[in-house]
């Protein structure tokens, strides 16, 4: 339970971190350390070099861009997102989802960029990023590129990022029209890895028909998955139980991994139940928000 020896590097600037990443052999990036720390302690990983990003201030914090988009630095800690009032006002589902991310003490260290790069299939923040069509900016010593969250997952805990690349920012755009939201999750105990979870944003028109909807599911497949078929079927509909049930069938087509506790089938059934709850809650929330307008 003690990590193997590693060489520790503490860059203060992004360019230094990128140069280290390009030149040091067998290097790992250390963000909040709430997943990497345990993996090092267990010696699942024994990197020769560890590059600690905790002092790269360029990677920290939130800022609203001119086009109303929000830029979140990859090293912004989960508790900072949870506490940010501007973020809560514009994208309230972030705070709701963060409540489910690990525990109080782990959110004090854990970062959004670490969560997206570690890419546990049950992680909440990738689910929220998928819901908001986030753009992820990565950089290497050689240049930078932007990747859609929908192209981010290439396999089990494998993000679409090169060995010499570093995730620097996440850009999300809040919905401009009034909308309801819901985040629901099932785990054996609060703070455990989710069996499944569903996040939903939903806007209704004056006839209470669904005008726009986004739904993502976590814990199934290799991680955050948008349910595009379900969304398409729901637009224009009044949200009855039958309509929701029919839309939830998309989950049955997904691949769900089994683990020591739960079969893939159980995960999918849980996800379908959560989908129905999330839709009902978000729909009701959307109607309430429209009526107070």
């Amino acid at each position: 339970m003690k990590p193997a020896a590693f060489k520790y590097h503490r860059p203060a600037r992004l360019t230094d971190a990128l140069d280290m990443l390009a030149s040091l052999p067998d290097a790992k990036l250390l963000a909040g350390g709430q997943s990497l720390g345990p993996m090092l302690n267990f010696r699942y990983l024994m990197p020769e070099n560890l590059i600690d990003l905790n002092h790269v201030t360029e990677l920290q914090g939130l800022s609203w861009l001119a086009d109303d988009a929000l830029r979140i630095g990859a090293m912004t800690r989960q508790f900072q997102l949870e506490k940010d009032e501007g973020l809560f006002t514009r994208i309230p589902i972030f705070r709701e989802a963060l409540r489910w991310v690990g525990h109080y003490a782990t959110r004090n260290r854990g970062t959004i960029g670490g969560s997206l790069s570690h890419l546990d299939p049950a992680a909440e923040l990738p689910g929220i990023c998928a819901l908001l069509d986030a753009e992820l900016r990565v950089q290497s010593a050689g240049g930078r590129r932007t990747i859609s969250i929908h192209d981010w997952t290439v396999g089990f805990m494998q993000p679409n990022i090169g060995e010499d690349e570093l995730l620097t920012d996440i850009v999300v755009r809040p919905w401009t029209q009034p909308h309801g939201f819901s985040f629901v999750e099932m785990s054996r105990r609060h703070g455990d890895f989710a069996i499944a979870g569903v996040a939903c944003l939903l806007a209704v028109d004056v006839q209470s028909q669904i005008e726009k909807v986004a739904v993502s599911v976590i814990g199934i497949s290799n991680g955050a998955t948008r349910l595009h078929q379900a969304e398409k079927a729901l637009v224009g509909a009044v949200c009855t139980d039958d309509v929701i049930q029919a839309a939830s069938e998309e989950i049955a087509q997904l691949e769900a991994p089994a683990d020591a506790h739960h079969s893939g089938e159980f995960r999918k059934r849980t996800a379908k139940t959560l989908f129905c709850r999330a839709m009902q809650q978000a729909y009701q929330d959307a109607i309430n928000r429209r009526s107070v307008q």
Binding site: Y8, G33, N41, D52, R99, G102, Y104
Partner: protein, 161 residues
């Protein structure tokens, strides 16, 4: 032995310096280098919460942070929770009053978590306390006494302000 790093930090108002390996966890530094054994080491992989201390104002698990990372930090461990004259912190007093501990292994982590949290949320609900301590595992008292202690400490702290 691999390369050594000179680190310095302030713990409970006292300054500590040592040359250590990068792989030494903050928990091991606090216990073995500083001799502050009130911080307990349970799972060593960020699950049990026993090693929680307060680093730069925030509750932190000292097994998933390396001591070299805490260079320049200000820490509080359970030894620094009571007043210098021995008067217990309201959280500690409440644990005594409400039987919030039995064997004591999880206690320091529980108390550091709760003490840090009450600074930012002085009026928590019972549900908030239960969610808070979901990150700390107790294997003997059951959590009822701990929840009652946390709520009582919150009230005492509010009254004292």
């Amino acid at each position: 032995m691999s390369e050594l790093h000179a680190v310095g930090m302030t713990i409970n108002g006292q300054s500590y310096r040592a040359d250590i390996e990068a792989r030494m966890t903050l928990a091991d530094f606090v216990r073995h280098v500083c001799g502050l054994t009130g911080t307990h080491v349970g799972c060593e992989h960020g699950v049990c919460g026993a090693c929680t201390l307060i680093a730069d104002g925030r509750a932190t698990r000292s097994c998933t942070m390396y001591a070299v990372q805490a260079h320049g930090s200000v820490l509080t461990t359970v030894e620094g929770l009571a007043q210098p004259d021995g008067t217990l912190h309201p959280v500690q007093q409440a644990f005594t009053d409400f039987n919030g501990l039995q064997c004591g292994f999880c206690t320091s982590g529980m108390q550091m978590t709760i003490a840090a949290y009450l600074e930012e949320n002085p009026s928590p609900t019972e549900r908030e306390i239960r969610e808070l301590i979901s990150g700390n595992i107790c294997r003997c008292t059951g959590y009822q006494g701990i929840v009652r202690a946390a709520l009582d400490a919150a009230q005492k702290l509010r009254e004292s302000r």
